[in-house]
């Protein structure tokens, strides 16, 4: 049990009046100070507690209802947006599929070469003295050189290669390079070819033979500008 008797009997002097004058100052200064703090300290504690409660009610708890209302209204706007967004996603997926199909159609059409026209050019530019023995076209790859920031880089691109094997009489061997130049400078071929390569002349009995390789740009959308 805590003894609540704050006034201890031992502290009372035998002659209260005689001791009064000597202890007067002590009681009046330290006692008053203590009493003061017995009032101030609980008051401060109560004020702090009231501050805590105010913080709880006004800063923490008050916005909760407002937040809940905001969430509710946001969720309802979200619910309205969801069907529209889902439709957009579906349509986008459909669009991508159809784009792929369209690409396939267009790729086919863009990679069509007018071979009858090309055959005409090859024969029109050919001198009567030179005859061709073999010719074929087949899909392959071409090392296309591209200028980049890092320098010139060779990039493998799909191409259609036309290989032409020619037979040249000995006395007309100098005409081969002229034929190559004619092809290179042809207005149409210039646009649709990456490059013409030749193997050089190789001797046969009374003639020479040589092969030309014409690398065609595969898609007409990549044709060079005139």
């Amino acid at each position: 049990m805590i003894n609540l008797n704050l006034l201890n009997e031992k502290d009372i002097p035998s002659n209260p009046l005689s001791s009064f004058s000597s202890n007067k100052e002590t009681i009046s200064s330290s006692g008053t100070k203590k009493n003061k703090w017995f009032v101030i300290a609980p008051l401060i504690a109560v004020v702090i507690y009231l501050g805590i409660l105010a913080y709880y009610f006004f800063i923490v708890r008050a916005p909760l209802a407002d937040l809940k209302e905001q969430i509710r209204s946001s969720k309802s706007s979200l619910a309205k947006l969801i069907p529209k967004a889902e439709e957009a996603v579906k349509k986008e997926e459909e669009l991508q599929k159809l784009k792929l199909k369209l690409n396939e159609f267009e790729e086919f059409l863009l990679t069509k070469n007018n071979w009858s026209h090309i055959l005409n050019i090859l024969s029109n530019e050919l001198m009567d003295e030179i005859v061709f023995n073999k010719m074929n076209i087949a899909p392959s790859f071409f090392n296309k050189k591209e200028k980049t920031k890092k320098g010139v880089i060779a990039k493998k691109v799909p191409t259609i290669t036309l290989t032409l094997e020619l037979e040249v009489p000995e006395e007309f061997s100098n005409k081969v390079s002229a034929y190559k130049k004619k092809l290179e400078h042809n207005k149409i071929l210039k646009r649709i070819l990456y490059k013409i390569e030749d193997t050089g002349l190789s001797a046969r009995k009374n003639s020479y033979s040589t092969s030309f390789k014409l690398f065609f740009i595969q898609s007409s959308k990549d044709y060079k500008n005139e």
Binding site: P42, Y49, I52, V60, R61, A88, E94, K112
Partner: protein, 191 residues
């Protein structure tokens, strides 16, 4: 200050501290947690709204683009031949050859499927057929023949050919032996 007074003060301090801590633990912390949760929820919902708004705003553009693409595909679908039209073409191929003095000595048709498909790799609604021909004709006759074939439909093209000169001549023309591969696209009967 005597011992009992100190005891009372200490007790009061403990009681006060207990009340503070109790209030913080029982009232403030749960409320703060729920406030933070609600804030997070709200933020998530707002972000969702922003994302969905962004997606939904594209709807009209996507619809318009879809219309354009569909229109183009429909146009192509109208031009692409049917299997019966392909059969008709195959039946008349030798006649076309005769018109251009091209002799067709071999005529094979392969249906490309699975990995061998070159154009519509994923789409089973379109059929790819490869026509392999062995021809004998003159150089310019060959040119005219392939030009005619490619004109029969936009969705038919020359894939490869190899020409070899022969020693024979016909009508004052050097005859060539030619192997020709043509790719023909057609729609399935279901389209």
């Amino acid at each position: 200050m005597n011992k009992e007074q100190i005891q009372i003060i200490v007790l009061m301090v403990f009681v006060t501290a207990g009340v503070y801590v109790g209030t913080i633990l029982m009232l403030i912390m749960p409320a703060t947690d729920s406030k933070n949760n609600l804030n997070t929820q709200l933020e998530t919902v707002i972000q969702d709204i922003k994302a969905k708004k962004g997606t939904a705003s594209k709807l009209e553009t996507v619809k318009k683009e879809l219309e354009v693409v569909e229109e183009k595909i429909n146009k192509y679908n109208k031009n692409i031949i049917t299997p019966s039209e392909f059969d008709f073409f195959k039946d008349t191929l030798r006649d076309i050859g005769k018109e251009h003095n091209v002799d067709i000595s071999r005529d094979l048709t392969n249906v490309l499927s699975g990995n061998k498909k070159t154009v519509f790799k994923q789409d089973s609604l379109y059929v790819e057929k490869e026509i392999v021909l062995k021809l004998t004709c003159g150089y310019h006759d060959f040119g005219e023949f392939i030009s005619r074939i490619e004109k029969t439909t936009p969705f038919r093209k020359i894939m490869s050919f190899s020409i070899l000169k022969t020693k024979s001549r016909k009508k004052n023309k050097n005859l060539l032996n030619i192997n020709l591969k043509i790719l023909s696209l057609m729609k399935d009967n279901t389209i």
